[in-house]
């Protein structure tokens, strides 16, 4: 054994012994207690995914017999003010309540939604301090995160829940709703103002949820004997629609059950779609007998069934498989079923006019002069596609109906008060969009009064870096070293990118016009530009963002996503992502030139570098980066 080998053995042995410290008992339990003080914004979806008609007025009247609650909730939904009381009263104890379901009084039902029991109980106790009577008298207490399921919320407080105190049945009064929030756990309580979020209302026992389309059959129609189960063994999310209305969003390789009471009476039509909106199978359910709809595809089998036990059978003939490969630029739009069973006979004769706009929720929506957006239920077979200049709406995937920015009139009618527009009449283009510019009216457009930083923050604040790595690098030289590409440039465009439906994440791609390449060779589809991917913050509007694109330059430290895929051991993804970049991390990857000084997107990034740089000269920073690249080259030579 050489000296070198011996030294190496000694060092290796020393390192192994350094790591041999005994593991502290209860470490995971402590972490759990800390972690769950703040429930994650996307947690288990215990709320039913099945939607709208499940508790229509008719069904609910029979099911509840609690018209007082209905009245209260109707008030909530119609925007009536919610009551918040300030008079503390006697404080009934929470003693004796099960920890998993902390009840407020012996007769009340507590529904904690996606909030862990401990945090739920703490929130209720906090509410009790100012609303002891209401808590004590409540027939039900509903607690849930204010952030809707399957959504990403950027908000000031990481812990924020709605607490709703439902009065006892038969008591006509105002619903008491409060907002409980804190940095990581419940700390403060304020009265809820405005209407409650839909996902919270859905948790309230017997709540009346606005209906998109009323139940299609007569109230005394028969219902299925067994729930509908969607067993999605494909590797992509599937949406199930019943009579054209979304009933369940089923993640890849997952199973969701729609309870019988949430399914309208027969007859109805079930339809399965991929996230793009492409219909992969449909079936009429004419009676209450068990049924199975089995769809084979190149990415797995989808079963939709209603039976006492899951039906088994041979896999559909692979020759009949649906090809899962889809046009990546397709955009899902809500459409009507092919045969709208039980929907209003004929087509309403109303006409609506508006501008076609891209919409994260509905693919393509209609924007009126009042700046309100309206969901449109497009005719069966309609699709949209991202193309140069914006979205294009297609009829049956072939002929162009209209383009983003076009002003159109659509015959049809409303489905309920402020419900989506049923586009069953003629669709005519009144005026074409100018050039390729999207027609939009930014709701938070930059103003003259705004400073450069403020205007820039407006844009960058809506973008979040994907948390691929938490890694921080302590020096500019290291940031340069780990970057596949370092460029100076300006954002010139932004467009929708991929969607991760399961995580509720929408990505966007920004086009960056390159001013100077400091390191690397840009992988680019268009010479002189690169595409950088970001998460779109929840609620951000792409058309607004386009109008907010800042003029300033920035220094970007980027990872190539194709190379990243390769490094992560996914060679199959390399080709798809080789023209896309992402920041090396969320705080050090983009350094802006704001009036000649350096500004990161997130101010805390300043603390990530040992000597800081906020407010330093941007020109100097760029020179330092150039020097770091040069030094690195010298070292590697």
């Amino acid at each position: 054994m050489t000296d070198t080998d011996r030294d190496l053995a000694v060092i290796a042995d020393y390192m192994r012994r350094r790591g041999a410290a005994p593991l502290r008992a209860g470490l995971m339990a402590s972490a759990r207690a800390r972690a769950l003080r703040q429930a994650p914004e996307r947690d288990t979806a215990r709320t039913p995914l099945a939607a709208f008609w499940t508790r229509g007025p008719t069904a609910m009247a029979g099911a509840l017999g609690a018209l007082a609650t209905v009245a209260v909730l109707l008030g909530v939904l119609s925007g009536l003010p919610l009551g918040g009381t300030d008079a503390p009263a006697a404080d009934p104890s929470l003693d004796g309540q099960p920890s998993s379901s902390p009840a407020a009084s012996t007769s009340s039902t507590v529904i904690c939604g996606r909030i862990e029991a401990d945090a739920c109980q703490t929130a209720i106790e906090l509410v009790r301090e100012g609303h002891a009577t209401e808590v004590g008298d409540a027939s039900a207490i509903v607690v849930d995160d204010t952030c809707p399921p399957e959504a990403t919320c950027d908000r000031q407080y990481s812990f924020e829940v709605a607490v709703v105190l439902v009065p006892a049945e038969g008591v006509v009064g105002e619903l008491v709703a409060l907002r409980v929030f804190g940095a990581v756990s419940p700390e403060q309580v304020v009265t809820w103002t405005g209407a409650l979020p839909l996902h919270v209302i859905r948790l309230i026992p017997g709540a009346l949820v606005p209906s998109v389309l009323e139940p299609s059959s007569s109230p005394d129609g028969q219902r299925l004997a067994d729930p509908i189960v969607i067993s999605n063994a494909t590797d992509r999310p599937v949406t199930l629609l019943i009579d054209g209305v979304e009933a369940a969003n089923v993640p890849a390789r997952a199973e969701i059950t729609i309870l019988t009471r949430e399914v309208p009476p027969v007859p109805f039509r079930v339809e399965a779609r991929f996230a793009s909106g492409r219909v992969i199978g449909s079936r009429e359910v004419l009676d209450t007998r068990p049924f199975l709809m089995r769809i084979g595809s190149s990415c797995g089998v989808l079963d939709v069934w209603s039976a006492p036990t899951q039906p088994y059978g041979p896999r559909p003939d692979p020759a009949d498989d649906i090809d899962c490969d889809e046009d990546p630029e397709l955009v899902a739009v809500p459409t009507q079923p092919l045969v709208p069973v039980g929907t209003p006979a004929g087509c309403p004769a109303a006409l609506i006019e508006g501008t076609l706009v891209a919409d994260e929720r509905w693919g393509v929506a209609l924007a009126g002069t009042d700046d309100l957006r309206r969901k449109v239920l497009w005719p069966h077979g309609y699709t949209a596609r991202r193309e140069v200049g914006g979205l294009v709406l297609y009829e049956a995937g072939e002929s162009v109906v209209a383009r983003e920015g076009d002003v159109v009139t659509i015959g049809g009618g409303e489905t309920g008060s402020d419900g989506p527009w049923l586009a069953c009449g003629e669709i005519n283009v009144v005026s074409r969009a100018e050039g390729t510019a999207p027609a939009s009216t930014p709701s938070s457009a930059p103003t003259e009064a705004m400073g450069s930083l403020e205007r820039s923050d407006l844009f960058w604040g809506a973008l979040t870096m994907g948390a691929e790595t938490q890694q921080q690098w302590p020096a500019l030289a290291e940031v340069v070293e780990v970057s596949d590409l370092v460029v100076r440039g300006r954002v010139t465009d932004i467009r929708l990118g991929r969607t991760v439906a399961v995580a509720g994440v929408q990505f966007v791609l920004t086009t960056v016009q390159i001013e100077e390449v400091l390191k690397g060779t840009p992988a680019t589809r268009t010479t002189g530009t690169i595409e950088v991917e970001w998460w779109l913050a929840n609620g951000a509007d792409l058309t607004d963002l386009r109008a907010q694109i800042p003029e300033h330059e920035a220094l970007f430290f980027l990872s190539n996503q194709g190379l990243l895929a390769e490094r992560l051991g996914h060679p199959e993804d390399v080709a798809q992502y080789r023209f896309q970049y992402t920041e090396i991390n969320g705080s050090q990857g983009t350094l802006r030139d704001i009036d000649g000084t350096v500004r990161p997107i997130y101010e805390e990034a300043n603390g990530w570098f040992p000597d800081g740089f906020v407010g330093d000269s941007y020109v100097d920073l760029v020179q330092k980066a150039r020097d770091a690249v040069r030094e690195r080259r010298v070292e590697s030579d």
């Binding site: 060092i11 390192m15 005994p22 063994a233 993640p251 088994y312 994907g466 780990v482």
Partner: protein, 179 residues
């Protein structure tokens, strides 16, 4: 893909603590060894606990579930870095008794091992967090260079150069004692 309906997985693909805990628990000893090697046994548990909380909160952003292990390790390393940066310089003493218990009963070899251990310990504490991290990942966890690079998010060449630099410094410390 021929998957029968009966084989449908029940994976809801959402952050659920029990699922996270199951995955993280299986990596807990490794994470603790890693942290102990980088920051020392006294602070390892706190660092790992911080890392677990951070990982849970960032879990929704983990795009590739198969990358969980390197991702979790990278968070532990990151927390170690922050910890070391925040801790600043601290005087460390080496317990001869502890070194003796590792090295064996023989008095001569105890003294040699204690000296070696002491020198290595001093040299190790002069290393940067990044150098400590590569040593810990490579030798404490016995990871191949490729996985070390994956964890740190740096090229393999960088790992090799850091390893080389760190080992050279520790070797120098060993040599100093033997001359």
């Amino acid at each position: 893909m021929a998957v029968e309906a009966g084989e449908v997985a029940r994976d809801r693909s959402r952050p659920v603590w029990s699922e996270f805990e199951a995955r993280a628990t299986s990596r807990l000893p490794e994470c603790h060894r890693l942290a102990a090697a980088i920051v020392g046994p006294d602070d390892a548990a706190d660092v790992v606990q911080d890392a677990l909380v951070e990982a849970w909160r960032a879990l929704a952003g983990l795009r590739d579930p198969n990358a969980f292990e390197p991702w979790l390790r990278s968070i532990v390393v990151n927390r170690c870095r922050n910890h070391l940066r925040g801790r600043g310089r601290r005087v460390r003493t080496i317990q001869l008794d502890a070194a003796a218990s590792i090295a064996g009963e023989d008095t001569g070899s105890v003294r040699l091992a204690a000296d070696q251990s002491d020198r290595l310990e001093r040299a190790f504490h002069r290393l940067s967090p990044d150098h400590r991290a590569v040593l810990a990942l490579r030798f404490t966890l016995d990871l191949p260079v490729r996985d070390v690079a994956l964890t740190l998010g740096v090229p393999e060449g960088t790992v090799k150069s850091r390893l080389n630099a760190a080992i050279t410094r520790l070797r120098s410390a060993l040599k100093e004692g033997s001359t």
